[in-house]
């Protein structure tokens, strides 16, 4: 899949933002006033910023409101609802903490739940796609959720929790990569089933329908070199998990935490780039490409 910056920024930032909102909703850290304001500002900036970024890839962003109508069937619509509910519920909860020094616990819990649901629904947008075997796995929501929660913990300054959650997320990441690498082969879809000609012999794509490119090739066919991908995986894994955990272990103060957060952010963004770039859409089979 084409690793569009808009979706990478969106999923990376909003994942972190809603992760932080989850912790804030649960009352971690237990802050009020200006400190609470800063935490909420960061959380909203990330979550809303991410959501805004996601509209950049729309052909008609001005019609985005229409996306709320199809919650019965569409994960994208559900994501919209969850995000809006989470943001709307967390607003009075945050206002209570910042301005009134009051914790509306019930609102916080509801907000936390919807923050989590937002990340889950985001992940389901990808997971539901049978056309992309690397995404069509239970580990996809597990990865999105574990990243979001770990990142939220890190941002929320929950050092102990963050170290454990980062370690869990790291394991999920490894499992995701391992399973993902064989997902296409295990999906049962190949050029034979794509063309229905598989029983007649070995099928090979000959001339493409057009000599030039097209939307499908631009959107769905992105070839990442194997060595290049392996290198990026090491970088991503180190930045997202190894380095933050080490920093938290060795230097768990503010500056260290900031470095850990930035490292994590860069690592997750890299992982997300790989998430898209390495995802192979079955339509590539028709073009002899994956």
């Amino acid at each position: 899949m084409h690793p569009a910056p808009s979706v990478i920024v969106f999923t990376t930032l909003s994942g972190l933002g809603f992760g932080l909102l989850l912790f804030l909703g649960l009352g971690y850290p237990d802050v009020t006033g200006w400190v609470a304001f800063v935490f909420f500002a960061i959380a909203y900036a990330l979550a809303v910023g991410g959501l805004m970024a996601s509209t950049f890839h729309l052909g008609h962003p001005e019609r985005a409101m229409k996306a709320f109508t199809q919650w019965r069937s569409s994960w994208l619509s559900r994501e919209g609802w969850c995000a809006v509910i989470a943001l709307l519920v967390m607003a009075p909860y945050g206002a209570g903490l910042v301005f009134l020094d009051t914790s509306y616990t019930a609102l916080g819990l509801i907000g936390a739940l919807f923050s989590l649901l937002t990340v889950f629904t985001t992940s389901m947008i990808y997971t539901q796609l049978k056309t992309i075997p690397r995404w069509n796995m239970k580990l996809t929501p597990a990865m999105f959720l574990s990243f979001s929660i770990a990142g939220g913990a890190l941002l929320a300054g929950q050092v102990d929790a963050a170290m454990i959650l980062l370690a869990i997320a790291a394991l999920v990441q490894l499992a995701y990569w391992k399973q993902g690498d064989s997902a296409f082969a295990n999906s049962g879809t190949d050029m034979g089933t794509a063309t229905g000609l598989g029983s007649r012999g070995k099928v090979r794509a000959f001339e493409p329908p057009h000599t030039g490119t097209n939307y499908l090739l631009r959107e769905f066919v992105h070839v990442v070199g194997r060595k290049h991908a392996a290198k990026l995986r090491v970088i991503s894994f180190t930045l997202a998990f190894v380095l933050p955990i080490l920093i938290l272990l060795l230097s768990p103060h503010h500056f260290g935490a900031l470095i850990a957060v930035l490292s994590h952010l860069a690592g997750i963004a890299t992982s997300r780039w790989l998430f898209f770039a390495q995802a192979e859409h079955v339509v590539g089979l028709y073009y002899g490409k994956r």
Binding site: R204, F206, E207, P209, H210, T211, G212
Partner: protein, 940 residues
Amino acid sequence: MTIQQPKIDTSPKVSDEIRQTTCYMCACRCGINVHMKDGKVAYIEGNRNHPVNKGVLCAKGSAGIMQVNAPSRLKAPMKRVGPRGSGEFEEISWDEALEIAAGWLEPIRKDSPEKLAFFTGRDQSQSFTSFFAQNFGTPNYAAHGGFCSVNMAAGGIYTMGGAFWEFGQPDWDHTKLFMLFGVAEDHDSNPIKIGLGKIKARGARVIGVNPIRSGYNAIADDWVGITPGTDGLFILSMIHVLLKAGKIDLDYLSRYTNAPVLINASEGPEKGLFLRDADDKPLVIDRVTGELTAFDKPGVRPDLSATYETDGVTHRPVFHDMVERYMSDEYAPEAVADRCGIPAQRIRAIAGELARVAFDEAFELDKEWTDFRGEKHTKMIGRPVSMHSMRGVSAHANGFQTCRALHVLQIILGTVEVPGGFRFKPPYPKPVEAHPAPHSKVTPDAPLDGPHLGFVRGPENLALKEDGSPARIDKAFTWENPMSSHGLMHMVISNAHAGDPYKIDTLFMYMANMSWNSSMNTKGVMEMLTDKDESGEYVIPRIIYSDAYSSEMVAYSDLILPDTTYLERHDCISLLDRPICEADAAADAIRWPVIEPDRDVRGFQTALVQLANKMKLPGFTHEDGSAKWQDYADYIVNHERKPGIGPLAGFRGENGDKEGRGEVNPEQLDRYIENGGFYVAHIPDGADYYKPWNTSYQNWAVDMGIYDSPQPYLFQLYSEPMRKFQLAAEGHGDRQPPEHLRERIKEKLDPMPIWYETDQQGNEGFTVNALTQRPMAMYHSWGTQNAWLRQLHGRNPLYVPTKLMREHGLQDGDWAKVTSPHGEITVPVMEMAALNDNTVWTWNAIGKRKGAWALEEDAPEATKGFLLNHLIHELLPAKGDGMRWANSDPVTGQAAWFDLKVKIEKAGAPEDLAESQPVFEPIKSPVGTGPKNLAWKVGK
């Protein structure tokens, strides 16, 4: 939950109006419905009532809208201001353009009309353009058949009075076995697809013989990946097998072919000619009486086996010679298998299947008919085997004989002009005798002595001057290629440049991209067009060119007469020329301006009428010098070739109710437009098969003006005109070939089909066959790089068989250097498994010169696309005999571009190679480049 879905308008208005005209995106000439909105072209679809395409339309036809709005359309007449080849022009008025042209041409005409060479390319108005040339008085006129398919056309006419494509078609509704030879995605595009669809719907068998398994061959049930140039050998081997097994239609051979005609066996100038009676009629032995009889005498039953003894000489019928020749072991499948690349078993199986279907699946139609000997038949016997062939067989130096062999194969099976077999389309069948012979006698300030092109009957018809030198600039109808019925357009520029046989003054061309894909040796042609003599003048002094688009040839011309697009013009697709008939009907068609040009352009034929009027050419003007016609539409309606016969056969007569013959009808074009742009005259029931011998067809054809009198004839298994050339080569007669051609004529103009390997001298080390095909979406198309079609084929790789890919360590996307004895190109490669193991090929005419066709200079057509033409020369490699032999068929002069042999090797790393080689300097576009984006919706 109730589902509420949007209400949509499922009955929107389709268009304001439909205008019906004829497509011109290739040579098919399909009927089209042009949907108009607000006076603009909104959508083009096929015309369901049209005889050619019956509603369907190919990719090119549907893309016509992008042809009409193409940015490469020329805008006004132009005069060259930069050096030739630069593309620098100045727009001028039509008055000035015609003034210049007349200023160049009039003095030539007064003095030596042959100094005008007028050649047209994909011209569909040849009866008109030749009329112009004839009245001008130059012998130098032809269209592009010489490098296209003259072998097929001439081979067909000389053998059976017609060939494939325009001449005839399989009986699609009845045929049960269809065999395609060397047909790529080329001629007769939609009708063949329609026919294949009919066959496939019935589950009947298609056999494809082609080194490349693409297109029609991809859906063939059996594919024969033959070695290029060996089709003739394969066919003669099947004839061998069929003869041996007696699986031939003896009744058919005895009645309708010259198999029973007796050959003169007496030594002397008549040897090998037919025995004839006092009326010059070929003689046969009547099996009923045992007497020597004229072949067409009522009631005669020609005997295939009887001989005739006189003066101690035994004269045998043609059939004896055939049996003797083709029964020989040299044609046994085992003897030819290796050379053809087809296992002997497969050759036998295919011959067996031909026999099985022709004879075991024979059927009868209850139709009465009477043959030319007066015999009444109550039934028509169907032999449901049909064949089609085109350029793949044609474009070899042994193509003429191969085409003859193919027709002979059909004839011995008795499948020509019978139900289920191959059927002619009017005006065919038409034997050689019904065609003119070529004319070339020049008289200053007077018309030529007759039509330029025709069919020679023997040496007496060659286009030679008194001194024996060629009368025509292209050396057509000379000893080098005596039966060159379509002329040799591909030799014009090199001959004119060499001044051999003489120098010319003005080269005038129409729709012929000679400085690019329409020439062999493209680079050499560019050099010849720009070469100057010692005095600094161009060696070819003047070039006038007409085209609708900014093609590569524009840059090499001095004066440009901009043509219209096909929707902006009048045309007639005439029975005098190359009509749109079907096997069941005679038909012709028109084009008319469904939109008016928005530029200062004129239909070429109208420009030609105006130029002729300006020069007061006879034929175009009355005695007082006044013009007969103002424009082409005027000519179409009012010109009469003979009294009552004009360009259009329909709606003739004062009331428009006469067909074929009738007075001029001033309303004729309107009637055609009302009728959908065409006219169909159906062949009566019972006249629809056995046409060459069917009395009711012959009478109908006379009524239609196709013949002046009935012309029944025999199929020529043995070609007497060819024998006459052999006789000359053997020393008989006044007109004698030059010594160096004597042996070749004896050998190659064999009156019965032969196969020979094409000249391989100089090909040492070049072992791989290299071919081209046109993609169906661009086949024979003339015009711009169409915005929609160029997305389908914007560049062309060299397709290389798996075996050669492995041998040369090549992978898709690599580049290969391809060399021939003549040149070298470097091009991208792509693997193809369904391909003859020793053949490479590419799509032709995708590659474009930078700056042409209003494309940007980095367009893939110019950077990745390429022409194989650079590797082909119009001459064979030098043999050291001091002569350069033409790379063409020794019978017809057909350009032998499918004889190309190359070697390939891997070129450098793909990242080092950005562009196909050779690269030429960009030419300056006289029309700029096209818009960036398109969203072409004319309605609201």
